[in-house]
């Protein structure tokens, strides 16, 4: 049962208030028509799906209805950070 900090409501809320919205930071291609089928397919269907740190979107559906980003470990379920749409994660797992 996840307990998620909504960066807009600025407090912890129960999982039941949220809906999951998949991997974060997948930008829609600016010019879809110029892509190959494989590039388009990659954008629409293919996901990183890591075991470990995952940047993902949640929607505070029963709350403020904002989408936001969460950096969560998909193994331990620990949430390292939540951040607003348009922001970049500070926890990336990449070694500095």
């Amino acid at each position: 049962m996840l307990h998620i900090y909504c960066p807009y409501c600025e407090e912890m809320r129960e999982e039941e208030e949220f809906s999951y919205a998949g991997e974060a930071h997948i930008a829609r291609p600016l010019d879809p028509e110029s892509l190959t089928d494989a590039q388009w397919g990659d954008y629409v269907f293919f996901r990183t799906n890591p075991r470990g740190l995952h940047h993902e979107m949640w929607n505070h559906a029963a709350g403020c209805r904002r989408y936001f980003n969460v950096t969560r470990d998909t193994q331990t379920y620990v949430i390292h950070e939540t951040y607003k749409m348009g922001e970049q994660p500070s926890v990336t797992g990449e070694k500095p």
Partner: protein, 420 residues
């Protein structure tokens, strides 16, 4: 050929009983890995072991290793609700699953290992008019594909499952069901063990506690795998690692259209047998059967988030049990003994991937979502063919990774047991 000394039977059991069971042999060897193999199968679950078995049995490829990071059959094979059926919607998938169902019949005899496949029938309930349209559509498609299927009225549902709540005055009354009498359940662990024993006897090396840490690719072709027990060379590497497929793919620099989610299930305390078919309800997210030990085996919905933790959130289980109590009000005083989670790799179209990849000699069999167990024999069978011939088995052809680029998806969300 199975060594006659190792053959299982009532007679052998009797003979061994006289010797206090002291002379039973190992079910499989525990060999040290060789330097290289013709085929390495990554993942010692039901699908991987079945693949190894059929590679050896049907294609004569016996220089094969199955590498398992934990213990054989310890992943989703050990965690599912053991349902076997083939009543999927589209031609491509229903034929694949029905191929599996054909193999389920006679599997115990083929393996000389009783997998306790019990064709006690599977029904999928409909709770609204659209459910019933979908059921009609699926049953008709199944029928014309030669798959056992029928539409049941509410009364027929009640006749088969007398304890079900057939009141029409409830929130989501039962309007009918689809019914596959030839479906049923099997003993999940036995499937893995039976295939393991069969493969071992045909010369396949089953190597447990051997985690693959990298897939080695040179000039676009696979050459082997790095493991916790060192490098092992291979001409072909076949990944059958449900719950871990994305991680394996990333080792070879491949992306897959998968997301891994927790899928929870639970059992009640053992009670005297009271329901002897499988009842599934997609609309209210619950399915139930009763094991030969007496446990009610209940499947819950998928947790929405990605997760490799083999556990999910309580509200999913709560939701399922409220639905179960609605369908079976008499179960309300029965008690939940244990709940657990598996990791299901879900594809956007709720269908598996059985495919070659852009890396020569590297194959993937994954993305079974909630439907993996029932497909085990068929999956192993067609994947073995695909690996042996470096060309997909005709039944596997529609399930290439490339379908996500061409758009030839096979949308089975409606027919999958659980929404995903």
């Amino acid at each position: 050929m199975v060594d006659p000394m190792k053959k299982y039977s009532g007679f052998s059991l009797f003979k061994h009983a006289l010797k206090h069971h002291e002379d039973w042999q190992k079910t499989w060897r525990s060999p040290r890995p060789k330097q290289s193999y013709d085929v390495i199968i990554v993942g010692g679950g039901g699908h991987g072991l079945a693949t190894a078995y059929y590679l050896a049995k049907e294609h004569g490829i016996t220089n094969v290793a199955v590498l398992e990071k934990g213990y054989l059959g310890g992943g989703n094979t050990a965690r599912n609700t053991t349902i076997v059926r083939s009543n999927y919607l589209w031609d491509e998938s229903s034929r694949l699953y029905d191929h599996a169902l054909d193999l389920w019949y006679g599997l115990s005899q083929d393996l000389n290992y009783n997998v306790m496949f019990s064709s006690r029938g599977v029904m999928n309930l409909g709770h609204n008019l659209q459910d019933m349209r979908d059921i009609e559509r699926r049953v008709n498609a199944n029928r014309l594909n030669g798959i056992d299927a029928a539409v049941l009225t509410t009364k027929e549902v009640k006749d088969i499952v007398p304890i079900i709540n057939d009141s029409q005055d409830i929130r989501y009354p039962i309007l009918g069901a689809s019914w596959q009498k030839t479906g049923g359940v099997a003993r999940h662990d036995a499937v893995a063990w039976g295939y393991a024993r069969g493969a071992d006897q045909l010369g396949v090396d089953l190597i447990q506690q051997c985690e693959v840490t990298d897939i080695v690719v040179e000039q676009g072709a696979v050459t082997g795998v790095q493991t916790s027990q060192g490098f092992i060379g291979a001409k072909k590497v076949a990944c059958v690692t449900a719950g871990n497929s994305g991680v394996m793919a990333s080792m070879a620099g491949i992306r897959l259209p998968l997301e891994s989610h927790p899928l929870q299930a639970l059992v009640s305390e053992p009670i005297k047998p009271i329901i002897d078919t499988v009842v599934m309800s997609n609309a209210v997210h619950a399915y139930v059967s009763q094991s030969d030990k007496g446990d009610l085996v209940i499947g819950a919905g998928i947790d929405a988030y990605n997760g490799y933790g083999q556990r999910g959130s309580l509200h999913v289980v709560e939701h399922t049990l409220s639905a179960i109590c609605e369908l079976f009000p008499m179960f309300s005083r029965v008690r939940m003994n244990r709940a657990w989670g598996g990791i299901v790799d879900t594809c956007p179209d709720a269908c598996p991937i059985i495919s070659k990849t852009q890396v020569d000699g590297l194959y993937f069999n994954c993305g079974w979502g909630t439907g993996g167990f029932k497909a085990t024999p068929g999956s192993g069978h067609v994947f073995a063919h695909t690996v042996a011939h470096d060309d997909p088995h005709p039944l596997a052809k529609p399930f290439t990774i490339d379908r996500f680029n061409t758009g030839h998806l096979i949308d089975e969300h409606g027919a999958a047991g659980v929404a995903h």
